[in-house]
């Protein structure tokens, strides 16, 4: 697909030949994730997380379909149906806990995947559309996760739905009617629950479709790499299969081990105890907090406490949506021709600050709002916007990047003049590389 030396598909059996002539599906698979997709040979472990996100999407769809077989989308029955599954259905607890913690792990690997892209400049030309499709997937994930959290109809489900749909009422005039239209009532109730269930079942399949576009767009220029230098010839690449299937494979097994440890031994650690209390519209929890993966955005929302031209609540809502939407402009905000952060000394400093900033925002958003926490969250919010919209463009204009390696192969050689054998072949006897 991407490089001239990509091996074309050759059917190995008569049956595959027959199929390939009529429906070239094996050809597509071979070119996408088989031996026909050349990948830079120098990818490090941070490139494993895209495949992992795909694995967790699959886990969520499979466990979710089974959950839906036992779930009643009724305000009276939802909570009880989940408990019935947990207690009386064979391995029901496993399916439920796997789905609950699968969502958390889906976000963990996606966040690492996004920060990989931020550090190595994966959003830059010619991969802008890969980045933007990825952000669309992320937005769809957030909507899906929010609606899924409402379904068990616990206290945090209900009050989370109340708060999040309340965002819309921040907009003047049209806000309240929009909120009522979305909820199908004045407050979350049967109408909201049924439509959330319907959409929660639909959106993962839309995510899967956008994932296909994301991978399609990626395979036009091919994968990036830690040096950010373009692939120049065949020596710079290895076929996806068996090299990267093997690398992704063992890494996936290791991450699934971590996932199993949490699912089996601490399944409620990432959740909130209040969601084991059935929803009660008359009793507001002491602190309403979303799931951990929304904490940084929740902190941004809560940071705007003073009316200034617009109402504080509207500022908060605009800032929260803006904090994600601004990422769509990243390819044009960062003008540096150097992709990889490893060759950008100044950028690297600010990248570390950004990671700290997002962690601080998460801390500020996830716990009860003490005056100190609110103040720290406000400073972190200010830095978040300045980082992407002011600092990054300036850094990309003023920074002097380090010299780039001549090629990917060159970067792998660490100074040796030549290598004894091209990648994937045994070294010839007597071929001596000199330092």
């Amino acid at each position: 697909m991407s490089f001239s030396w990509a091996k074309p598909y050759e059917p190995k059996s008569a049956m595959m030949k027959w199929l390939d002539e009529r429906l070239p599906l094996p050809r597509v698979v071979y070119g996408a994730v088989g031996g026909g997709y050349p990948v830079p040979r120098n990818l490090n472990m941070w490139w494993n997380f895209g495949v992992l996100a795909g694995i967790f999407l699959t886990i969520q769809i499979v466990t979710g379909i089974v959950l839906a077989m036992w779930y009643y989308a009724t305000a009276d029955g939802a909570f009880g149906s989940v408990e019935h599954l947990m207690r009386d259905v064979n391995a029901g607890w496993l399916i439920r806990y796997a789905h609950m913690n699968g969502a958390s792990f889906f976000f963990i690997v996606t966040y690492i995947h996004i920060f990989r892209g931020l550090y190595y400049g994966s959003y830059k030309a010619p991969r802008e559309l890969v980045w933007m499709l990825g952000l669309v997937i992320y937005l769809l994930m957030m909507a899906t996760a929010f609606m899924g959290y409402v379904l068990p109809w616990g206290q945090m489900s209900y009050w989370g739905a109340q708060v999040i749909t309340g965002f819309f009422s921040a907009f003047p005039l049209v806000g309240e009617p929009i909120r009522q239209w979305l909820l199908g009532g004045y407050a979350p109730d049967q109408a909201a629950l049924t439509r959330f269930f319907s959409l929660h079942y639909l959106l993962p399949f839309i995510i899967a479709a956008v994932v296909i576009l994301h991978i399609w767009a990626l395979h036009i220029p091919g994968s990036g790499n830690p040096t950010g230098v373009d692939v120049k010839d065949e020596k710079d690449t290895l076929p996806f299969h068996p090299f990267y299937t093997a690398k992704d494979g063992w890494f996936a097994a290791a991450v699934l081990t971590a996932y199993a440890i949490v699912t089996y031994f601490a399944p409620n650690y990432l959740g909130h105890p209040d969601n084991y209390i059935q929803a009660n519209p008359l009793a507001t929890p002491a602190h309403i907090v979303p799931e951990w993966y929304f904490w940084p955005f929740y902190a941004i929302l809560k940071s705007f406490t003073v009316d200034f031209i617009l109402e504080a609540k509207l500022w908060g809502v605009l800032a929260m949506f803006g904090s994600i939407l601004l990422l769509f402009f990243l390819p044009w905000l960062d003008k540096s021709p150097v992709r990889s952060g490893s060759y950008r000394p100044l950028f690297r400093v600010f990248f570390v600050l950004l990671i700290l900033d997002v962690i601080i925002l998460g801390w500020a958003g996830g716990f009860s709002p003490t005056p100190v926490r609110v103040a720290v969250g406000q400073l972190a919010t200010a830095y978040y916007f300045l980082h992407f919209l002011v600092i990054l463009p300036l850094v990309s204009s003023f920074e002097t990047p380090l010299p780039l390696p001549k090629s990917i192969t060159d970067s792998v050689l660490h100074g040796e003049a030549a290598e004894a054998a091209p990648a994937g072949q045994k070294p010839r006897r007597g071929a001596v590389a000199t330092a």
Binding site: A375, F385, L386, L389
Partner: protein
């Protein structure tokens, strides 16, 4: 142009949030927030160790049976256990005949409908029934409890921060309101009908102390102190919240061992596949196999061993 507009927008958001920051900071110093009694006198839950703790935890059936006895003789007067059926008690080690007897002799009969008249009626409990609630509905429960609603206990240890340790602390934590509290916060005297307990979030709860020690007589001779009763009923509520906990731990152990094994094998396969794709540079100088062979030959010729 785009970068200028976006930069201005970012600065605007940063300025607005900094206005919030400075007004918050100045408000904090000009008008410091007052401390609340519930912030100062609320206590973290006590330590509680149970057999079900940790990744290898299993239930202690004798303790669960004692806890069930405390529930059925004391707690069940007000609190329901809506998600637990009599048949589930098999998990505590009761035999079928014992469960039948427990269900049939339960103090609240199971609600049913008279098949002849269609009117609401009651019958003796069966093992397949859920444990009947003490009150017919929320209104009845509130009417009997000064308008307070005793919560269902099935999920209590999962629904509170601290879990079983919180339940244990609450049951053993009733005390008189400290004099120091009334000195610092004179308006916060515990109202009549409420009871002071520093482990409860707002310090005053409607439930009177349910256990005082000596409330039940354990058949196995365990001393019926307040601490023992509270610990056993907390352990029982861990079981009601998650009867499959022991099965989860056992399954988890084999799954994790399997996955670790699979990870190691997959890692070795990865190393094997990549062995020839990694940078291939032949060693030179003294470590070159040819030079090493030469050195070995020279050594053996001159009679040096080793």
């Amino acid at each position: 142009m785009l970068r200028f507009i976006l930069g201005a927008t970012g600065t605007l958001f940063a300025v607005v949030v900094l206005i919030s920051f400075f007004s918050g900071v100045s408000a904090y110093f000009t008008n410091p927030p007052e401390e609340l009694a519930s912030e100062v006198f609320h206590r973290e839950h006590k330590e509680l160790r149970l057999a079900s703790d940790g990744p290898f935890g299993k239930f202690d059936n004798a303790q669960l049976q004692r806890g069930f006895q405390v529930y059925s003789e004391v707690c069940s007067g007000c609190h329901s256990l809506n998600y637990v059926s009599f048949r589930d008690l098999k998990g505590l080690g009761y035999r079928d005949a014992e469960i039948k007897a427990i269900a049939a002799n339960w103090k609240t009969p199971t609600p049913t409908i008279n098949p002849d008249t269609g009117e609401p009626s009651t019958r003796k409990g069966l093992p397949s029934d859920r444990i009947p609630a003490p009150y017919a509905n929320e209104t009845a429960a509130r009417a009997a409890n000064n308008n307070a609603l005793p919560p269902d206990l099935s999920l209590m240890t999962k629904a509170r921060e601290g879990g079983a340790a919180y339940v244990y602390s609450l049951l053993t934590g009733y005390q008189n309101q400290p004099a120091e509290l009334l000195k610092r916060f004179p308006d916060t005297k515990t109202p009549p009908n409420l009871h002071y307990n520093p482990y409860f979030a707002n310090l005053n709860l409607a439930m009177p102390p349910p256990l005082k020690g000596g409330d039940v007589t354990f058949a196995d001779g365990t001393p019926n102190t307040l601490e023992n009763e509270a610990r056993d009923v907390a352990a029982f509520l861990v079981w009601t919240a998650e009867p499959r906990l022991a099965a989860r731990h056992a399954a988890g152990l084999s799954v994790v061992i399997f996955l670790l094994f699979a990870s190691v094998l997959a890692y070795l396969a990865y190393r094997n596949i990549w062995a020839e794709a990694k940078r291939q540079v032949r060693v030179t100088g003294a470590l070159d196999p040819e030079n090493q062979a030469k050195a070995r030959r020279a050594k053996s010729k001159s009679g040096i061993t080793g």
